[in-house]
Amino acid sequence: MKNLLYKQDQNPISKIWNVEGNKYNEYAGSEFPTVITTYRLTEHHLSGVMSRYLPWLAELMPELFVEVSPEFAKEKGITNGEYVTVSSSRGKTHARALVTKRLRPFNLDGKIVHHVGMPWHWGYMGISTSDIANNTSAFVADPNVSIHEAKAFTCKIEKGKV
């Protein structure tokens, strides 16, 4: 999709390591049409390595989930609490679907683009374990301080564990 605000779509000097294991999603006519943002939960400290081991916190957030809008859930036939697969050209993540109206589809240049949200604190160790959200985010860094763009990228959502 063309950027309506600027002529330049992407920072030309951003650091992209387009190597095996770190494939970058093409965004024009992509097979990964869904926008995804990742964020923290109050139950977790930093990446969860300090807090996923604490049973009192682990029981409050027992499992990784991906928040989807009811419109998108209807389109994909996803029900609340069901497993979905979030994938990108770099990797995939299995998570439970949390259908909520807090997320809304975007109307971008007349085209409906769906948005999903996923917390990123889980891992394979600790009491509460799940797939890792950053399996799907490519390591692309900003040119100044190499902060990578794991907060917002594109993905594909499929029903069930694929």
Binding site: P55, E59, F65, P70, V99, R102, I127
Partner: protein, 294 residues
Amino acid sequence: MFVDTTVCTGCKACQVACKQWNEIEPGSGPIGMTDEKAVRDRTAFTGDSYDNTGHLNSYDWRHVKFIEQIGPDKTTSDRTGARWLMMSDSCKHCEQAGCLEVCPTGALYRTQFGSVDIRQDVCIGCRYCVGACPFGVIEFNKNTGRVNKCILCQDRLEQGMSTACAKACPTSSLTYGKVDDLKRMAADRVRALHARGQTDAYVYGWDLGNTGKITAGPNAGTAVKDMEVVGGLNVFYLLMDKPEVYGLPQAPSLPQRNFAPSAGVALISAAVLGVTGLAAFRRRRMAEVAVTAE
């Protein structure tokens, strides 16, 4: 304790602080954290917003509710007036506590701080209190054979400290103090919110005389006013919508509401039985008199 739901961020710090201070074993809830299979089966994910606890019970003495009000209902795409209400719920330590009044052993008692505590060694696990609580707070603990609920950190209060939840709350949504002071604080807070146009704020638990109107959500336009509940609640709430939205009863009643009618019925039946008995004796006596006369 005063619970200002307008500033609650749903961080659940109160839940964790409660379990830590009261030494409630982690994983005694829906997910057994020491049970590897239960962890793998992951029965705890509810899919109900960020709430994975569900309700108050014998191991969750405090519970943060998440209420998503986005548009008029869940089926349409209308998202006007969206708000996400959060409320930290616990035992209300009622002035007229149903649990306390039905307890046959005196295990539930009124403390010097006005809260309702449980003497675990006196509780016999009869569960009368479970049915008597109008809020569904108290629950039978299958592990100990006794009942559990929030005891307002009795041990902390005795040492002059505030409760663990109020101490942990980062936004001062939970405030511990003297109920009269807290009532003044609540009245000030409602006034301040109303002055800002947030006219849906009112107090649940005591009647401080505030009236308002809900500004957003499915109940927008509905008039709300302060309500005194079961003689007043020592843990009272500042709400932004009808009590039912927060899972609180609109007009909770105690089991003793049936006492006067049932006592009346008992008296009437006693009178009827007495009269019938007397009539029976008299008939028998008359029959005996008739026999001797012959």
